[in-house]
Point group: D2
Chain length 231, copies 4
């Protein structure tokens, strides 16, 4: 059981009726619901002071889950500095879907994190390429999402330490959809699925991945782990 | 320009009319033709003494290209020892298609190298996921093969040092089709495409990949490289 | 708490008085003692039928700890096959000191695993280069061993997934002393310290590393993990 | 032969007599001299407009060599953006010694890049841990530097793709002194040795490493390589 903070930009859900219909209480609320059985969950959003990510919040967070899309630039650089420092000290980070362009993710990767995409609502199938990985626990050989937004290669990230999922798209593309990294003492997982108008986070298998990813990324999974202390 | 030895089991082509129709002089001859513009090429086959891989041959080989399929078990362990030793000393190795189960490839990987497959003749599209890699030189964003045998994940190999291609298959699968490794001082490239009855090695883009892969794997590419000397 | 099997060649201790003085009941007994507080431990030795590593034993082992030195060649290839298969299915493996040349370790690495050494009894200092790693839990910045055998680079292994320790030797050498790998679904840790006549495994910090390494390598650490199923 | 630009902060050499005595024309001039036999070399310094790194300069640079120490913060963020973009597009980067804290290096690594150090003038011995690597070409098993500044672990960088050198220090420390990375299409090499008052860059073996590193990092080494084009 990890102490999770879910961060959501929380913008589309309040501005766009179509999004509000899928995620009436915000994507963060749906994500919280997906994790609550196995973890302790709080949420934080862009509009809050410090975007809800004060020192106190970060210091009591094992894993930070990040959703951003249209307002990446509005995230304050000082908050990004603080989150980066905390990840390097051991906090886990799960970056979801369009968060490939979140400042904190780009900061930790050091690359452009660019990719190709097409909004077409075709089928996506996520293949488990590393079936022994903690994040793939309890899954079958693949996960089918009947309607999804396409993300295609090349995805400009450093070579992942472990690649857990590769997506197949009906339209003919592939994507490295589940990428694990270590930076400093912290574990980072990029997970592609998610969308503001397809109910991806209601899918039971996707929810299982999210719970697993939090368990994997948590510094307190397994047994108490002392954070690496660096100056 | 590298000194290449192409090794072929050379069995189907002499036993099966359908294969003989596609590769009348053996797959090795077609592969030699694909490489000859940029490299010096010799061939060797299973039936020759030492399978054509004597010490003399190996010592004058920069890159060994390997094709095996139905007779992996007939390859002598002493020859495998010798090839492994030479790779660790700096010789490049390109393992093609069904050579994922070749003794030498399994030996160097340390894993089962198992995968899923289906002989269906559907379309394969190879996506370049690492466009700056030497092996992707001169390619577009993907290569289309209209008829191909399907190989699917999970592919039980160590995490590649660099992943250059991921295949999309019409039937719904994905595969890590171009995987780079370093073992000792030698470079190893696994390349999935190829088949005994589809003329994959006649495809101009595939031939370009083969030439690039040899250049990348060669210890003499770029500038003279001294082999690491180990006891 | 993991189910550990400690394998020892158990040869020096019965043939050499000097070794017997340090490890009167065999190195396996001292290792068992080091692990028993946190894990369930059994032992197995070379002379037993199947070297003590029957299918039943392996199937109920989470982590196998391996010590071999002068009798690597006497380990039966069928047992090596079985252990390899089990590691790929998820069992952890800890290879200690001179086990860099154990058949099972070389099999899983695919390289010669050669290194330099000098039996001089000088000081070794192990630096923690990855302080956030599970295996470094509870350690300070380094571990000092007043008398040790020197192992020096180059160590011919694949680039480790994570490098946890680098040793400094009084005589002027360095060595990558703690190397983590994943092969198939199994975790592998090579740990350099150990010797048949220096009481390295009585050192409290080294014992802590051993316990941590078992916890890290165990497929059941943290939460139940399903083994990847491969054909 | 690569087109190299050597960037130097060029501050100590003009402010400190002791440094001026060792590098009277600036460290960049000594570095240029080390590279000139095999590469085409230009220099650029902090005080120049755009720090000497205009778009024109960067576009005609294969490999950028970076030396910074006391004025990292004075490097303009826009120049850092431009250099990062160019590295991701394929330009090589060699970061020397105290440049572990250069903005561009931290940007590309995503970590704090912190380390321990002690200014003591003791002996350093760099061990070649990857003797088959291009950067180790023509070297023996180690390089001795009689007087050097100590850098010690932990070094907070991502796990290197290839680790080429590990340093041993007389005072009891170790350091990963030669670290290779790929980010986007560009190759990055961090090389520890160097100092403003010890004449490290006059050492013939160190100069050989510098020339090799440039050849390795250059996108045009070996054969013309097309830069990966990303949007």
């Amino acid at each position: 059981m990890a102490a999770v903070t879910i961060w959501n930009e929380y913008r589309h859900e309040r501005e766009d009726d179509e999004v509000a219909a899928v995620y009436p209480d915000g994507i963060h609320t749906t994500l919280a619901d997906a994790l609550a059985d196995e973890h302790t969950v709080r949420t934080a959003t862009l509009e809050e002071p410090d975007h809800g990510l004060s020192d106190d919040v970060l210091e009591s967070t094992d894993v930070l889950v990040w959703w951003g899309h249209e307002a990446h630039d509005e995230v304050d650089d000082e908050v990004v500095d603080r989150v980066q420092e905390r990840v390097l000290a051991g906090m886990g980070l799960i970056a979801l879907h369009s968060s490939h362009y979140a400042k904190i993710f780009k900061r930790l990767m050091g690359t452009s994190c660019s990719l190709q995409y097409r909004e077409d609502g075709g089928t996506e199938r996520l293949w488990v390429v590393d079936p022994g990985h903690r994040i793939a626990d309890g899954l079958g050989e693949s996960i089918d999402l009947p309607r999804s937004e396409m993300y295609g290669e090349p995805f400009d990230v450093p070579e992942p330490d472990r690649l857990v999922f590769v997506s197949w798209f009906e339209g003919g593309e592939v994507f490295r959809s589940g990428c694990c990294y270590r930076r400093g003492s912290g574990r980072i997982f990029y997970f592609r699925p998610g969308h503001e108008t397809y109910p991806i986070y209601e899918n039971e298998e996707i929810r299982r991945v999210l719970r697993n990813a939090v368990a994997w990324a948590s510094p307190t999974d397994g047994s108490p782990r002392t954070f690496g202390q660096r100056e």
